[in-house]
């Protein structure tokens, strides 16, 4: 009996000792890029986001410091249930430490809960909803690239101030559309404009003519497109067909990506105003990154701001890992470290990760070039204004995030 007990004790002690050794040296991390790989957001995120993550791993320099970094990717198909199933499997079976990208606000919010429950790290680049750092904020989440508050303020405010004081919304009927419409409406009202009507359309609508006719009949000065990807491109293309812009109404693409402009073509897209936080042709650093990226993309595409955000978000994550030295498996601890270090990277410049998980950096107002002004296959934007990082995003005093109430 005594022998058994002592053997057990010895075994336990040894296990603990080994565990201690293992954790002291644990420099293994696994990254999961969860994205829409084949649907309407696949071009603006998708395989390009995985490539961006790959490049971030290469550029982090952590491998030289003894880290082992694995990368896997998954397709959430724009369905929250599939997204959460993959996320759970990644944490439980594949031992993933950090989930990156996740476009589609509906999926993003669902995955947000899973990451919090599993104490992982969540670096969201693809989703727009500002709820990620407000009502549904989490100590495990960093929201990198953009959000509906930023889009609403930058684009919305600029348009209302330019005289566009009556609005009609075409809104994608899910979490993202609702958040974008809500945030933009707040800006319009605050600046003395009003919203005269709106339509909620199903996600992935191919024909907008019906909705556009309603928008036309509303006589609103601005038709706000609170949708994204294929929905936005179809709406813009068909608005041109129905003579909406010629009739004196103006389109506000509240969220427009580089790949969308490519898909619409400059002929139709010229003159559109919108906001992004990254463009490949901003400065030498963004051009250098984009050139490398484009060379590795199958269709030679330049990176979108979402893909750039995956890269920069992960770079910052790696900085936090480097600062921690080892043991990257406590999500809250890693994110706390990320909040401690100011952000500074070649693509988004300087900023901070605020206490609610919101990353701040400059936002840029762009206008789509005329076909005659474009010098190359991806030369699409003219910079018309910059909103400084400390003004572009929700001020902490207005954030409803529970983490701020400590």
């Amino acid at each position: 009996m005594k022998k058994t007990i002592s053997a057990l004790l010895l075994g336990t002690a040894m296990t603990l000792a080994f565990a201690g050794i293992a954790s002291a040296d644990d420099k293994n991390v696994k990254i999961g890029v969860l994205s829409d790989q084949s649907g309407l957001y696949a071009d603006l995120a998708g395989p390009g986001s995985t490539l961006a993550a790959q490049m971030a791993i290469e550029d982090s320099g952590l491998k030289a410091k003894g880290w082992t970094i694995d990368l896997i990717s998954g397709d959430h198909q724009n369905k929250p249930d599939i997204g959460t199933t993959i996320a759970r499997q990644w944490f439980d079976v594949d031992k993933v430490d950090v989930i990156a990208d996740v476009p589609n606000s509906g999926v993003a919010l669902a995955v947000n809960n899973v990451v919090k429950e599993k104490n992982g790290v969540y670096i969201n680049s693809g989703a727009a909803t500002s709820d990620l750092t407000n009502a549904q904020c989490s100590p495990n989440t960093v929201h990198w690239t953009y959000d509906t508050y930023m889009l609403a303020h930058a684009t919305g405010q600029a348009l209302v101030k330019a005289g566009g004081d009556t609005w009609f919304f075409l809104t994608a009927d899910y979490a993202f559309g609702a958040a974008l419409e809500r945030d933009t409406t707040a800006v319009i009202l605050a600046n003395g404009g009003k919203v005269v009507g709106g339509v909620k359309h199903p996600l992935n609508t191919s024909d907008f003519s019906s909705f556009l006719l309603q928008a036309q009949a509303s006589k609103a000065k601005i038709i706000g497109l609170a949708n994204a990807g294929g929905d936005t491109t179809n709406a813009i293309k068909q608005a041109a067909e129905f003579g909406i812009v010629k009739g004196g109404q103006k389109l506000a693409a509240l969220l427009l990506f580089l790949t969308d402009v490519k898909a619409i073509g400059l002929e139709t897209a010229q003159g559109l105003n919108f906001t992004e936080t990254f463009y490949w042709d901003l400065n030498d650093k963004t051009r250098a990154f984009s050139k490398r990226f484009s060379e590795k993309m199958k269709n030679g595409a330049m990176p979108t701001m979402v893909q750039a955000g995956v890269y920069s978000g992960l770079l910052h994550y790696f900085k936090a890992l480097d600062a921690l030295g080892a043991n990257p498996h406590d999500g809250v601890k890693v994110v706390a470290k990320m909040k401690e270090i100011p952000t500074d990277d070649p693509l988004f410049g300087k900023g901070v990760v605020e206490a609610n998980g919101r990353v701040t950096h400059d936002a840029y107002l762009f206008e789509v070039k005329k076909p005659s002004e474009s010098k190359g296959p991806w030369d699409f934007y003219k910079l018309v204004g910059t909103v400084p990082g400390d003004q572009a995003f929700t001020p902490l005093s207005q954030s409803t995030c529970a983490l701020l109430k400590k």
Partner: protein, 287 residues
């Protein structure tokens, strides 16, 4: 009230696409007994052929209207010769699974090379602009789509229901052995019919290229609705699928006006109702 007229007209435009596509499906189902799930992918190919013709060969929209259906039709006939013909005597399920697989492969290949957000194709110069009808601004191109597809639908109906060739076709479906005894090459006729159905899908693809983006998934988004149209109209009924196509376009258009959130489900609600009340479809006959 003015808005209502406009919505009716817009519905008719969408109905044209439903009609053209469900017509092709009905022809293929009626003559070959195959539930052609690859129809959406072939529609997409039609749009892509038009895009390639314009951007690689400088061949304009009007030629694409003729060339694209022929190219895709030939592709369809190769499919029929090499794969579908072996399933002739089997349960519908096999044809459905095979064509569904083909659709996934074709879409996957296109998506791999061209991404998902699509390529631009502009409206031909002759059809640019629009006219003010008083109650709405009608883009000329949309008007053209409605008229052109009506003509094509009626011509197809005439070909199958009113001509000698159509009579052979219908007879061959009824009793292939007997028709063969009269010296008619039934397998070749069936291949050509499949080519015709597929060509109709490609034609719809070319028509839609200037309106929607030329995207690998453009067919996948549409095909489910079109199947509902065929089920509502009655499987294999030519006239039924034409009328149902236009009618459902209108109903969908009205839904977009009164309750937009339901606009992509209303067709399926109707399908359920029709299946409950008259399982053979509105114009279908019991087998």
């Amino acid at each position: 009230m003015q808005a209502l007229y406009a919505q009716l007209l817009v519905g008719l435009i969408n109905g044209s696409f439903y009609a053209l596509l469900s017509l092709g499906l009905a022809v293929i189902f009626g003559m070959l007994n195959i539930i052609n799930f690859a129809h959406g992918a072939l529609y997409m190919m039609g749009a892509f052929v038009a895009y390639f013709l314009l951007n690689l060969g400088g061949i304009n929209y009007w030629w694409a209207l003729i060339i694209a259906p022929v190219v895709v039709g030939v592709f369809g006939m190769i499919l029929e010769r090499t794969m579908l013909q072996w399933l002739a005597g089997l349960d519908h399920l096999y044809g459905l699974l095979l064509t569904f697989g083909i659709a996934l492969i074709v879409q996957g290949v296109f998506q791999n090379y061209f991404g998902s957000s699509g390529l631009p194709y502009s409206i031909p110069d002759q059809l640019k602009g629009g006219m003010n009808l008083g109650f709405m601004f009608l883009p000329i191109y949309r008007g053209w789509v409605v008229i052109f597809s009506l003509v094509v639908c009626i011509a197809t109906w005439f070909l199958i229901e009113k001509t000698q060739l159509g009579a052979y076709l219908r007879a061959a479906t009824e009793n292939p052995t007997l028709v063969r005894a009269f010296g008619i090459n039934v397998p070749r006729m069936i291949t050509l019919t499949y080519g015709l159905g597929v060509g109709l899908a490609a034609l719809a693809g070319v028509l839609s290229a200037p309106i929607n983006q030329v995207r690998p998934l453009m067919g996948a988004d549409l095909i489910i609705v079109v199947f509902a149209v065929v089920v509502i109209g009655g499987m294999g009924s030519i006239m039924g699928s034409i009328i149902t196509g236009f009618a459902l376009g209108v109903i969908e258009g009205l839904t977009k006006y009164f309750y937009p959130e339901a606009s992509n489900t209303v067709v399926f609600v109707l399908m359920v109702l029709v299946l409950l009340v008259k399982p053979t479809g509105l114009t279908g006959r019991a087998a």
